[in-house]
Symmetry: C2
DNA sequence: GGTTAGACTCAAAGCGCTTTCAAATTGATT
DNA sequence: AATCAATTTGAAAGCGCTTTGAGTCTAACC
């Protein structure tokens, strides 16, 4: 059996009250008894029972992350792993637990209601917001502190979020390709109903427009961000007589697929065809080389996880504070995948 | 405020006892009052408070997953995302919550002790076991139900596990390459202290030995399973005058790197150089094509998550049952990345 | 009509903690 | 020696649930 407060108190010849106060750093307890208590707690490896503590304080000391597996294939985006790693670190440093729900997206509303009513968490982080995401008004109504990783542009902007400046990142990337002389720049994006995808598309179109290049729907694709999507889209576009000379793509995984199509077409990436990708800096795709393979708009999703968690904990511990909203700028890092447009 | 049992009972003109019994399906309550209670619970959107319920029953209704970020780079293996998705589905179907701890590996022992003492979970799943993994005796000593995803070959085999038959998978894959006439088969593996890596190596060596092919240390590499590891290892091996004609690699991500090195060397995968990889069937690398890109030993890690979760819940709900041990066989699926060895 | 089994219902204790309110102790001050 | 404030400790209530042990009521039996 594990030791509880009562036993610990008996052992010390003190009351539960005093022991509890000593452990929680209240000032009304003398330094000498605090020492005694701390030592005994250490010795017996005592940890307060989370559920009991939560019941008594009304705080769960836990944050929920709800991840909806999208589509009938129930895809699980690998960026979650890195985001959770960043957030998880912050939580454990602050004594919070991380509570994960992985569910089909049609269940989301029910899950939020449950989490609220069951009192298991103090706050929640929302992932992968849509253009106008119903989760935001729902959580506002439930009065559950929450923070959105990303934004939902068509909702009123009165909620907490941490997001990458996707629009600007893709605007800059497009300008960069234009500067290299490219005019037929393909966009291989995520689903258009995802907010980030829409932002990136806007940035891309803005850049084209400001240079007087008219967009071409034939070289814009959006779908689930898989390797296959990159491959299929690029393959199709490259087989066209007016094939693009550059690709702007929304994830490293898509980029792998695009590269495969390029090579399969007998072309060389970084010479015949340029590629710029967004790079979430996922650990296993390591771009630690001096000169990275892909030119990329880079922004660490793990770092975003860390910042999101910190912001949410702030919100919880300082009710009524101004809602944190952090726009992270992506770096444009030049790699080997881009070159001046070949003379046509 | 959310409604609690007391309020619900008052609302119905019943005692807490009766309402609780009605909700939990005890037989001592008449069908008519049960109906009334259920309806009222539905109407007021009542959910029993998890912490209170847990305190009263002594069960947390939660499973812990501890993921250690390995190395100084704090890599987060993307297979976790899919594994958690599989497990999470099982949990929510059975009313369990999922607790995630992401920590540096040196903290693991402390975290297990904490989880036990704090009473937040009823069971735990261990990932990525080493050759002789100290976590196993520790958890046995703590008397916390646990299941290992993978195995730890040098520990006594008296614990629950779910694992892929890595040895046999790689033995078959090696035999397949030998049948195609390959003799110089490279192995690009994970860290040798990981159990699965050791198993795969054994399978590979067994196959070579039984065909009288002597292993060559120069074409065996093991490291963190990143794209860079695949690229660097393959690049080095391919630059040798006695370069291998085939690669057997431990993950899709490594395989991407190997493919890059092959193409960069002006060679063609599936003609000049054959590649067989292990494929965890991660959703975003989708090998849904008719003929997959890579020939692979395939075993879904998401499915493993599902099976692991079910087994662990069984253990928890049927104490004293025989410890579940499931060995999953990998399929050898032929793709486009393998061909007969070129005549030398 | 009295007894009894069966079907329902409830009051209260307990899970392990925090926190309010009260009490005891100490030392300094008058 | 009496008073008072400051310091330190403790008893008990309460967080929201389950569960034990004890009723109450109805219908059925002799």
């Amino acid at each position: 059996m594990t030791m509880n407060l009562k036993q610990l108190a008996e052992n010390l010849g003190l009351s539960q009250t005093t022991v509890s106060r000593a452990l929680n750093g209240y000032p009304e307890v003398s330094e000498s008894t605090r020492m005694r208590v701390m030592q005994a707690a250490e010795q017996f490896n005592y940890r307060p029972n989370t559920k009991a503590k939560g019941l008594a304080t009304g705080r769960a000391m836990a944050i929920g992350h709800v991840i909806a597996t999208s589509g009938q294939n129930e895809l699980v985006n690998p960026v979650f792993a890195d985001f959770l790693a960043g957030a998880g670190e912050t939580y454990s440093r602050n004594g919070y637990d991380l509570f994960l729900s992985i569910i089909a997206d049609e269940e989301e509303a029910r899950v939020y209601r449950d989490l609220k009513a069951k009192g298991t968490i103090d706050g929640i982080i929302i992932h992968a917001p849509r253009m106008n995401d119903l989760r935001i008004p729902l959580l506002q109504q439930l009065e559950m502190p929450f923070l959105v990783h990303g934004r939902s542009s068509r909702e009123a902007n009165n909620y907490a979020w941490v997001d990458v400046n996707n629009r600007q990142a893709f605007e800059r990337a497009t300008e960069f390709l234009l500067d290299l002389g490219h005019r037929d720049i393909a966009l291989v994006n995520g689903h258009e109903y995802m907010d980030f995808a829409q932002q990136r598309r806007t940035g891309y179109l803005n850049a084209l427009k400001s240079r007087g290049v008219s967009p071409n729907g034939d070289i814009m694709a959006s779908d689930e961000m898989t390797e296959a999507h990159g491959y299929n889209s690029a393959k199709r576009m490259l087989s066209d007589k007016n094939r693009p000379t550059a690709f702007l793509v929304s994830s490293m995984i898509i980029a792998f697929g695009v590269r495969r199509a390029i090579q399969e077409a007998g072309l060389t990436m970084g010479r015949d065809i340029s590629v710029v990708t967004h790079d979430d800096v996922l650990s296993y795709f390591g771009t630690k080389d001096d000169v990275p393979v892909f030119t990329a708009t880079r922004s660490s999703v793990k770092e975003a996880g860390r910042i999101s968690a910190e912001s949410l904990l702030d919100m919880i511990n300082t009710p009524g504070m101004e809602l944190p909203q952090r726009l992270l700028e992506a770096q444009l890092v030049i790699g080997r995948s881009t070159a001046p447009a070949p003379a046509s």
